[in-house]
């Protein structure tokens, strides 16, 4: 079986391995230079951009010289689906579209064992490739994380455990779609669509609700401009909502705030002083940075559970002998 699986899937494995290797090497090269900007390691500068001159200089250079790479990393959101769906889609679909399932399942290897071996091997490759790539990417982002935290979408979705879970989810969708549609390419398309839909809805709707967010509130300071408002939550926290509240803590709507701003304008006074005088407070709703791993685990469990259900459906279909 080992030889057969390798012979049948070596093309996909090699192409994906090559791509992961290529991007990995580039990231390691660029990342080494970026890390070198921080003599004591990027972690030491975390949160000190405004305090420590050396760190501020390092961050400025990081932004100037490697900021573009960070923007390009957005494309790597798709790495898990490319790996997972590319390996999962042909697993059953190719056998079904070529008719070779009739060959494969009439040898002396019972079909459930055949399926278990294939699923284990290809899911293993999915985990290995995505895991390796994520490890490199997580390391690469260390300087950027020291600056911006790792709770924003451009860090959280690329780091830690979740990319592997995303990849296994894509693998599960692609395999199940391949079993049902009996064609590789449509199965890949379905996996791609499902991946985008699931990832977006989970990140935007479900993730903020993994835990009860905290709310911080403080009076508007009299000095300073409105733009340069200090961070209520720390830089590494994940802020879900910001706004203004009146003296009693009731949140102000946009219209109410605009009215106040207009009133300040008419009075010819500084906006912050105007708000401060009326006891207006700023608030931030956020998840503190130390929830990062909790959130990672929750999201990983979520996607793994769906992947497990999908794989279960595939196993059930094949066992039932109705294909």
């Amino acid at each position: 079986m080992t030889w057969l699986i390798w012979r049948q899937h070596r093309a996909e494995v090699c192409v994906l391995g090559l791509l992961v290797g290529l991007f990995g090497v580039v990231l390691v090269g660029l990342g080494t230079q970026a890390h070198d900007l921080f003599p004591g390691g990027p972690a030491r500068c975390a949160g000190e951009a405004g305090v420590n001159d050396a760190c501020a200089a390092s961050f400025r250079r990081l932004d100037e010289e490697y900021g573009y790479v960070e923007n390009l990393l957005a494309a790597f959101y798709l790495v898990p689906v490319v790996i997972g769906a590319f390996l999962g889609a042909p697993l059953l679909a190719r056998e079904l579209e070529d008719g070779t399932w009739q060959l494969a399942w009439t040898q002396a290897v019972p079909r459930t064992r055949w399926l278990a071996a294939k699923l284990a091997a290809l899911a293993g490759v999915t985990v290995a490739l995505t895991g390796t790539f994520t490890a490199v990417l997580t390391w690469f982002r260390q300087p950027f994380d020291a600056w911006e935290g790792r709770f924003q979408y451009d860090a959280f979705d690329l780091e830690g455990l979740v990319p592997v879970a995303y990849a296994l989810f894509a693998f599960g969708v692609a395999t199940a779609a391949g079993a049902i549609l009996r064609r590789s390419l449509p199965a890949f398309g379905v996996a791609f669509g499902a991946f985008l839909a699931a990832r977006m809805s989970v990140a935007l709707l479900a993730r903020p609700a993994y835990a009860r967010p905290l709310t911080a509130m403080e009076p508007v300071p009299a000095g300073g401009s409105a733009d340069r408002a200090g961070h209520l939550p720390s830089f590494a926290d994940w802020v879900i909502e910001r706004g203004y509240a009146d003296a009693t803590g009731r949140r102000l709507s946009g219209a109410e705030y605009d009215e106040l701003a207009a009133a300040a304008d008419r009075a010819g006074s500084n906006l912050n002083q105007f708000l401060h005088a009326r006891g207006v407070q700023r608030f931030g709703v956020y998840h503190p940075a130390d929830r990062f791993w909790t959130f990672q685990l929750i999201e990983t469990a979520l996607f793994l559970a769906v992947a497990a259900v999908l794989i279960g459906v595939v196993v059930w279909r094949v066992r039932r002998r109705t294909i």
């Binding site: 002396a108 290897v109 002998r321």
Partner: protein
């Protein structure tokens, strides 16, 4: 290998797809040894029945027993006793012929590599060619060599020669019958062509619209059936289970009867029936099931 005993027993087997029943109430007892032909028009349920036999499909009703084992609990041991050649003999197109053999070796308990290589060499099929680049006839030979290298007790083939040209068809049947003679493997194959079956087969199953309409040893079937030709009889007809089909021309009526060779009524001539005509008569009958018979002509 058991010369006595059953290669295949089905009991009330039915298979329903979403569109409806492909096979209904199929009960068969097919002996081990020899060649069994499964005949029927396209869409009769032949592929469904064969897939049930090799365990690719599970029956909706009834049980399938192959070589004394229920197909539902297939183990490597039971799987390795049955070889299967699916319709259009699928192969892994990007595998070389040698890799196809390696596939067979790695997925089977026993695999006679030498035998397979010898068979392929005899047909001049190079081992380093990709399976997808071979001609249809060569692909069929590779698939057959692969199935025979398992040294199965039962070899099941679904329309093995339907897609082949006459020469490739002849060569294929030659190899297949050679294997039957050498190894004593029981062969069950389906065909929608009735032609030439008599020469090759020992046992016959006729399937039509998902039901078995005729089954039996071919020699016995031919001995039991005969044609009766007599003056045209259009009135005074009676139904009889013995009459399979009545055909009327201007002057004559020809009856196909299954009466075991009773003496014919006066004025009627008895003639043996060819297997092809026999099969066709049964297929025609199942599409219009009310056969009418002159009384006193057939017992």
């Amino acid at each position: 290998m058991t010369a006595t005993g059953f290669a295949l027993r089905t009991d009330g087997v039915g298979k329903r797809y979403r569109k409806g029943w492909a096979l209904r109430d199929c009960t068969l007892d097919l002996p081990a040894g020899g060649v069994i032909a499964l005949v029927g028009p396209n869409g009769a349920g032949k592929t469904t029945l064969l897939r049930l036999v090799v365990g690719l499909l599970a029956p909706s009703t009834g049980t399938v027993e192959v070589l004394g084992h229920d197909v539902a609990d297939s183990t490597p041991q039971t799987l390795s006793r049955v070889g299967f050649l699916a319709q259009d003999h699928p192969l892994y197109r990007r595998f070389t012929v040698a890799e196809m053999l390696r596939f067979g070796r790695s997925c089977n308990l026993r695999f006679d590599q030498e035998l397979a290589e010898r068979r392929l060499a005899k047909r001049g099929i190079p081992l380093d060619r990709r399976a997808g680049t071979l001609s249809g006839g060569q692909q069929a030979q590779v698939a057959l060599a692969l199935a025979l290298a398992k040294r199965p007790d039962l070899l099941v083939l679904d329309e093995p020669v339907a897609s082949l040209d006459p020469l490739a068809r002849h060569e294929f049947m030659q190899v297949l019958m050679g294997a039957v003679a050498e190894d004593g493997v029981t062969v069950l194959f389906s065909s929608h062509v009735v032609h030439e079956l008599e020469r090759v087969c020992d046992h016959l199953v006729v399937l039509d619209q998902g039901r078995v309409t005729l089954t039996g040893d071919i020699d016995t079937l031919l001995a039991e059936h005969r044609l009766l030709v007599g003056p045209r009889t259009t009135h005074d007809l009676d139904r009889s289970a013995a009459v399979v089909e009545a055909v009327h021309s201007d002057r004559h009526t020809t009856l196909l009867v299954r009466d075991g060779g009773l003496p014919a009524a006066p004025g009627w001539q008895a003639r043996p029936v060819a297997l092809e005509d026999l099969v066709l008569a049964y297929l025609r009958r199942s599409s219009e099931p009310s056969a009418t018979v002159p009384s006193g002509v057939a017992a």
